[in-house]
């Protein structure tokens, strides 16, 4: 049952990254989150570098299985799975979440050790309006993996 869910999640994640940003990033090569050409986006790129270190973000391995539209911006479910080994010399040491359009785009970070086991977390965040939500994972060698998705909001979350 759980395995089946995981497979479904992986498949969706695959199409997301390849379909939306993955191709653009691959074509430009080395670009950080190409496909969101706005000023806010450049500022968030800088924030990502500040929190996660420099380097290109590969749109791979990170899957966020959340609806395209949040009913309640005060409580947007963000489940994050990172498909990466968690072994002593090859593991994910940090995951960070950013909402481009929030006044402070950095929302949260989560640090791990190999003994943490597979990265599979869930929490809820606030967003006032439609925004790209970006999740970046960093391996112990400094490789950055990412996922980005625009989430619409039916009702803003600033009052909550």
């Amino acid at each position: 049952m759980e395995n089946k869910d995981m497979l479904a999640m992986n498949r969706r994640g695959f199409f997301h990254s390849v379909g939306s940003v993955g191709v653009a990033a691959a074509v430009v090569g080395g670009g950080v989150f190409v496909g969101t050409p706005r000023d806010a986006s450049a500022a968030v790129d800088a924030l990502i570098a500040e929190h996660m270190g420099p380097g290109a973000v590969t749109m791979d391995k990170v899957v966020v299985d959340t609806p395209d539209k949040a009913e309640n911006g005060a409580m947007v479910r963000i489940p994050v799975v990172v498909n990466h080994p968690m072994e002593p010399n090859n593991y994910i040491e940090k995951v960070a979440v950013f909402v481009d359009e929030n006044p402070n785009p950095f929302v949260a970070s989560f640090a791990f050790i190999p003994e943490s086991g597979p990265v599979d977390i869930e929490f809820r965040l606030k967003m006032a309006k439609a925004s790209n939500v970006r999740v970046v994972a960093k391996s112990n060698s400094g490789a950055l993996y990412g996922f980005t998705k625009k989430i619409e909001v039916a009702e803003g979350g600033c009052s909550g």
Binding site: M75, N102, F106, A108, E115, I121, L125, C158, G160
Partner: protein
């Protein structure tokens, strides 16, 4: 609003060593970002949010989270662990006023 009531939930039944175990945590907290205005008075509601969540299992810091006021109020946090041996999962929340909350539950490894 009441603050506190930290809760940790682990599987009730014994798990096997090496199993991926789902841990659920919850705490009552306003998670005020400091950016919101009170609708009645027009005054900014002061910031008051959890800045740190740490989980220790088998003597190791398996999850070390940094939060901001953009995390939803009464925050839920779910994560997974690889079961090693019977022992507590101890979770500590800290907020920006220095208040600390703790909860723990024992994972039983058969």
């Amino acid at each position: 609003m009441a603050i506190g009531s930290p809760k940790v939930r682990v599987p009730k039944d014994p798990v096997k060593k090496g199993d991926k175990v789902n841990i659920k945590t919850m705490i009552q907290h306003p998670m005020e970002s400091g950016l919101r205005k009170d609708k009645a008075t027009g005054e900014v509601v002061p910031a008051h949010f959890i800045t740190s969540v740490k989980a220790v299992y088998d003597g190791k810091l398996v999850l070390d989270a940094v939060w901001t006021g953009a995390v939803s109020k009464n925050p839920f946090l779910g994560f997974h662990l690889r079961a090693e041996k019977t022992g507590p999962v101890e979770v500590t929340w800290k907020d920006d006023k220095g208040e600390e909350f703790k909860a723990s539950e024992v994972i039983t490894v058969a």
